[in-house]
C-alpha cells in the first residue's frame, strides 16, 4: 500500500545528442523511446518499467518533475485526499498525460518541487528477462547502472528569516506519504534546525533526500551499482568520456553508501551509488548528524565538504 519507490525523474537538457550519449553510452541506460516532442525515455537494464529517466530538450538545465510509483490504483485516491487534507492542491491527471503512465496525481511539494504519483507505467521487462536470467546482460554499456535509486532536492533554508523548507517538506513526506526518516543533519546555535534529511519507503537508507540551500533546486539524481569496485570502474568510464567529475569515489557517512558525483553535459549533477548501506526498517531509530560532523556525514574520508558540492546545482522547477 502507498508509495513503493522512485518512478522517474524528468530532467531538462541543453543538447539532446550529448545527453543521450551521457545517459546511454556512459551511464549505460537503455533508450526505450523518443516522442514527437523530442523527449527521450531511458531505463536501467535491471528496471522493468518503460523509463526511469525522461530527458526534455530545453534552454535551461534542471528538473521538471519527479514521480513516485504507488502500489495500487486506489492509493492515488487515498493519498490524494490526504494531500488535500494537509492543505496542498492536488490535480487529477488523465491516463497518458504523464507519458506511458496510467492516471496520476500531481502536486507541488512544500519545497516547490513538482511531484507526480502514478500506479501504472508501460511494462518492458528487465534486459535479462524473468526465466533463468543471467546475473547481468551482455549488452551493458559504460557504467551499466542498474536503476534510478534516489534524488536529492535542494530546499530553501534561511533560519534567520524563519524559512526552513527542509523541515516543511520532510514533515509532509513523513505525515502524508508515510516515508520513514532515516537520517538528519541538525544545525544552528541550539542544534535545532533540521538542515538535511534522508527518507525511505523501500528498505534502503533513502528514496529521496532534502538539503537546505539559498534557493530550491535539483542537487542530483543517483543511479545504483552493486558495489565499490563498480563505482571505481564507473569513474574510469566517466574519465574516459571526459565527464566533469565533482567528487571522486569515496564513502558517505550518511547512508554508508559508496559514491561518486559528476555532471551531465547540461550541468545536472548525477551520482553512482553502491551498496545496501543498511536495512532501513520502520522501527529503526533515526540517525542524527551534528553540525560539527557535517563534513564526515557527507564525505566520510576527508571529513570536509567541497565548495562546489554544496553550492553548485541546477534548477528544481
Amino acid at each position: 500500500m502507498g508509495v513503493m519507490r522512485i518512478g522517474h525523474i524528468n530532467i531538462r537538457v541543453l543538447d539532446m545528442d550529448a545527453a543521450l550519449h551521457h545517459y546511454g553510452k556512459v551511464l549505460g541506460l537503455e533508450k526505450t523511446d523518443m516522442d514527437p516532442a523530442g523527449n527521450a525515455y531511458l531505463k536501467g537494464w535491471d528496471e522493468w518499467d518503460k523509463y526511469s529517466v525522461m530527458l526534455t530538450p530545453a534552454d535551461r538545465a534542471g528538473m521538471n518533475h519527479i514521480a513516485y510509483k504507488v502500489e495500487n490504483d486506489s492509493d492515488l485516491d487515498t493519498l490524494g485526499k490526504r494531500i488535500r487534507d494537509y492543505g496542498i492542491d492536488v490535480e487529477e491527471v488523465g491516463a497518458g498525460e504523464l507519458p506511458y503512465c496510467g492516471r496520476s496525481i500531481r502536486f507541488w511539494l512544500p519545497s516547490g518541487h513538482l511531484m507526480y504519483l502514478y500506479a501504472e507505467k508501460e511494462f518492458i521487462g528487465k534486459t535479462v528477462g524473468t526465466t533463468n536470467p543471467d546475473p547481468w546482460p551482455d549488452s551493458i554499456q559504460g557504467a551499466g547502472v542498474h536503476w534510478l535509486d534516489h534524488a536529492l532536492l535542494m530546499c530553501e533554508l534561511d533560519p534567520e528569516k524563519g524559512v526552513n523548507k527542509v523541515a516543511e517538506v520532510t514533515h509532509f513526506m513523513q505525515q502524508v506519504l508515510d516515508f520513514k526518516l532515516t537520517e538528519q543533519v541538525m544545525v544552528g546555535p541550539d542544534g535545532d534546525v533540521q538542515a538535511a534529511t534522508w527518507l525511505a519507503r523501500t528498505s534502503t537508507p533513502h528514496d529521496i533526500a532534502f538539503v537546505g540551500g539559498p534557493v530550491m533546486g535539483l542537487h542530483h539524481c543517483a543511479f545504483f551499482l552493486d558495489e565499490w569496485t563498480d563505482v571505481l570502474k564507473a569513474a574510469d568510464v566517466l574519465a574516459k568520456n571526459k565527464v566533469k567529475i565533482d567528487v571522486t569515489p569515496q564513502r558517505h557517512g550518511i547512508t554508508r553508501g559508496t559514491t561518486s558525483y559528476f555532471f551531465d553535459p547540461s550541468g545536472n549533477r548525477n551520482e553512482t551509488f553502491a551498496g545496501l548501506g543498511y536495512l532501513a526498517q520502520p522501527d529503526m531509530p533515526v540517525i542524527t548528524w551534528t553540525e560539527e560532523n557535517l563534513g564526515s556525514g557527507i564525505f566520510y574520508h576527508t571529513g570536509e565538504l567541497n565548495e562546489a558540492f554544496t553550492e553548485v546545482y541546477t534548477e528544481g522547477a
Binding site: 543538447d15 535551461r60 538545465a61 544545525v187 544552528g188 538542515a195 537546505g212 550541468g267
Partner: protein, 108 residues
C-alpha cells in the same frame, strides 16, 4: 596537435594563461591549476563561472538561459565552461560562490 593557442587574461586578478581553441576557457584554467573563475558543473547549467568578455573573440556552446539571457549574451556575458577562444581574450569574473565563512547553518 593542430590546436591554436590563445592568451586568456582574467582582469580581476591579472591571471594570464594559455588556452587552446579546442578547450573551454574554464577547463584550461582548471587544468593549469590557476584560479579566478569559480569552477562548477562545466556543462552550462549552474552559472557559477559567469564572465563578461571585455575583448577578444569567443565561440560558445548552449548555456542555460537561467544564467545568461539573450540580451546578456549579446553584451558579452557567457559561462566560461562553454567559451572557446578564437583570439586572445580578456574577461571579468561575474559569477561567484558564496563564501564559506557565511555559513552559520551548515549548508547555508
Amino acid at each position: 596537435m593542430g590546436a591554436t593557442r590563445h592568451r586568456i587574461t582574467i582582469l580581476d586578478t591579472g591571471e594570464v594563461y594559455t588556452c587552446p581553441d579546442s578547450v573551454s576557457v574554464l577547463k584550461a584554467m582548471a587544468q593549469l591549476g590557476r584560479k579566478g573563475i569559480p569552477s562548477g558543473c562545466h556543462g552550462g547549467g549552474c552559472g557559477v563561472c559567469k564572465v563578461q568578455v571585455v575583448s577578444g573573440e569567443i565561440e560558445t556552446l548552449t548555456m542555460s538561459r537561467t544564467h545568461v539571457s539573450e540580451e546578456e549574451e549579446r553584451a558579452g556575458f557567457a559561462l566560461a565552461c562553454r567559451c572557446y577562444p578564437g583570439s586572445d581574450v580578456s574577461l571579468k569574473v561575474v559569477g561567484k560562490m558564496q563564501k564559506a565563512v557565511k555559513r552559520p547553518y551548515g549548508f547555508v
